[in-house]
Amino acid sequence: DQQVKQNSPSLSVQEGRISILNCDYTNSMFDYFLWYKKYPAEGPTFLISISSIKDKNEDGRFTVFLNKSAKHLSLHIVPSQPGDSAVYFCAASGGTSGSARQLTFGSGTQLTVLP
């Protein structure tokens, strides 16, 4: 049972345009969401996160939107650059205070930014 889903395995975008990566979740206990970027043969790098008390968080070219009623979040990258080409993982977290926060990851979306 996939609790976090990234239904698009790949996405191609022209340089300078907007990239929109989508993520859906099923577990209503999730209260914190993260996006990671991963290059081949490297560990994921944290990009941006959002708490369930917010619906938007922005950091430079990256914005994450959260729609709790739809259990959907998205990552917007504007403008897209060739160096953004990587696999993007959505992750969700939820748990009791004091325990290790476990992340549930989606299967990833390969973003290719074309020059």
Partner: protein, 110 residues
Amino acid sequence: SQTIHQWPATLVQPVGSPLSLECTVEGTSNPNLYWYRQAAGRGLQLLFYSVGIGQISSEVPQNLSASRPQDRQFILSSKKLLLSDSGFYLCAGGVGNEQFFGPGTRLTVL
């Protein structure tokens, strides 16, 4: 900020051989530590997590085990590797909601 070290970067082992992957953390005390595996073309699967020395929780039944002999050291082991243990293994550390990942170990079992 914290840094996660992992080694080796790549490893080729025969079926039935033992395994030991090591992870150490710099820059934070008493972190939560995690081992993940990424199979080819798939997402990250949590294998083990630890909230302190000697405290290990397993998420999936498997051929692997984990140990935390020191606060900032996390070890992934196996007594006898299977072909299905091949994959990309990632160690992560964190305090609170965010986790930071090491560079990973590519394990190929032949």
